[in-house]
């Protein structure tokens, strides 16, 4: 069946593309310097990665399963976007700032270079120690 083969090829391309975006997003999640940039990386895996993988799978499935896949994709898109939005808003409200000026990041040698995001001018200690993140 040539049609089946064509669909499989398209599906494979989508799948591999999705996998690529997943890995790229994952690397970004680890390597990017500040919280907001990492949010962007996670967004890549949640939107492009999920879309690639699920649409790729939908090309090689029966219509019912394809429908379910599209439902899952719609669900993931809605919820992950909403929760990332709420997360960024909460982080901004709690004083996580985009302090990514090269001067700050490269001249001070902290134990971990990512540590300087919580704005020291607004210490979050008034609402409990759980918000101040990692101490080490």
């Amino acid at each position: 069946m040539t049609l089946e083969l064509v669909l499989q090829c398209i599906g494979a391309v989508f799948l591999l593309g999705g996998s690529f975006f997943c890995i790229v997003g994952g690397i970004g999640l680890v390597r990017l310097p500040t919280f907001y940039t990492r949010c962007h990386a996670a967004g890549v895996t949640d939107s492009a990665g999920a879309a690639g993988v699920l649409v790729g799978l939908a090309f090689v499935s029966t219509p019912l399963v394809a429908f379910k896949l599209v439902t899952v994709l719609a669900f993931v898109w809605l919820t992950s976007v909403a929760s990332t939005h709420a997360l960024v808003k909460a982080a901004h409200a709690r004083g996580v700032r985009v302090m990514n000026t090269p001067r700050l990041d490269w001249t001070i040698p902290p134990p971990a270079p990512d540590d300087g995001e919580v704005d020291p001018s607004t210490p979050p200690s008034d609402l409990g120690p759980h918000l101040s993140g990692e101490e080490a």
Partner: protein, 355 residues
């Protein structure tokens, strides 16, 4: 590939467990527990236990994270530093654990290898279930057939345990306490919790998704005969959907949809429905939970009816118990003043020292 994925997920699980062990910030540990549960659910899927994975996904990532966080809100967010062994490994515990582990490992040397088809566990009733359940019960999902029919007694007992656990939590935390709305009689009908104004996107998305979540729970409930699913999973998903509503709008708003008192009654109703099916089969002339006698001319149909009713009872009780647990924890969160209520433990004269 199957085995490779299994081992990879297992390795992730182990790393996660150890990280949870050394994380001193309990709030972070709670989040890591959520990830732990997601990994284990993935592992269950890789090990063919789709029903178990279904349950774990619904329970672990949703309900139990909420529970731990609700507890943390009422206790401490951070582990206190141990004064006797400050930030050191507890070598006594390591010794005990190592000894136990070595003994257990020694015990597994004779056990059957991974995945062999002729292991003792696959003989006996398990073989009977796979070979004959389709002709005897008539539903494709063997797990549901075993759960609701062959081992109906067992499931009845488990449901009783869940009911008693819900009762215990309600007695420990909410005994005689007024429900959330009666505590705030002056609250206007429109909830004016401030965060509702703060998170419009989350609010809209939740509102749009909620009917589908509840519908999906009903689908899982009814579809348990043919695919993974059933009363346990559906109950937890239903409760998770309502808890989601409670998280976004506040438990006060949720109370307007599902009254605390009614939900409390529903915990018993499900259990009674389960038991009632058993009594009905006895009244017709069979054994307890022998569904076949319900329709003597066509035992398979009786099995279908029986399994449907029993699963419905399971779903009602499980979702009601989860909701009751959420309610009593949330009520504590709303009114911290109640924490000064007299404690039913032996009255400690040292309580002023402790605080």
């Amino acid at each position: 590939m199957e085995e490779a994925i299994t081992i990879a997920l297992f390795a992730l699980l182990l790393v996660m467990a150890m990280v949870i062990g050394r994380e001193r910030n309990l709030f972070s540990a709670a989040m890591l527990t959520g990830i732990f549960s997601l990994i284990s659910a993935g592992l269950f899927t890789a090990l063919d236990a789709v029903d178990v994975a279904f349950t774990e996904a619904a329970v672990g990532a949703g309900i139990s994270t909420v529970l731990i966080l609700a507890t943390l809100a009422l206790t401490d967010h951070h582990e206190a530093h141990d004064r006797l062994h400050p930030s050191k490994v507890n070598w006594k515990a390591v010794g005990v654990v190592t000894l136990t582990g070595v003994a257990l490992l020694y015990g597994t040397v004779d056990m059957p290898a991974f995945g062999v088809a002729d292991a003792p566990i696959h003989e006996g009733v398990a073989k009977h279930y796979i070979d004959h359940s389709f002709e005897e019960i008539g539903i494709p999902n063997v797990v549901t057939a075993v759960l609701a029919s062959y081992r109906g007694y067992d499931t009845f007992g488990e449901l009783g345990v869940i009911f008693v656990a819900g009762l215990g939590v309600a007695l420990l935390l909410g005994a005689g306490a007024p429900s959330i709305t009666s505590e705030h009689p002056h609250l206007p009908q429109k909830s004016r919790a401030p965060y509702v104004r703060e998170m419009p996107v989350v609010r809209v998305v939740t509102k749009a998704l909620l009917p589908f979540i509840l519908l999906f729970a009903l689908y899982v409930q009814a579809h348990g005969d043919f695919g993974p699913g059933g009363g346990f999973q559906a109950g937890v998903i239903f409760a998770a959907g309502l808890v989601l509503y409670g998280l976004v709008w506040g438990p006060t708003a949720l109370e307007r949809f599902a009254r605390h008192r009614i939900v409390e009654r529903a915990t018993a109703i499900g259990l009674l429905l389960y038991g009632g099916v058993g009594v009905a089969t006895m009244a017709v002339g069979g054994n307890f939970l022998e569904y076949g006698v319900l329709t003597p001319e066509h035992p398979q149909h009786g099995q279908h009816y029986g399994i449907f009713l029993v699963e419905l009872g399971v779903g009602i009780t499980v979702s009601a118990v989860m909701l009751v647990i959420y309610y009593v924890f949330a009520a504590r969160n709303v009114s911290p003043t109640r924490s000064s209520a007299p404690v039913t433990l032996p009255p400690p004269p040292m309580s002023e020292d402790a605080s």
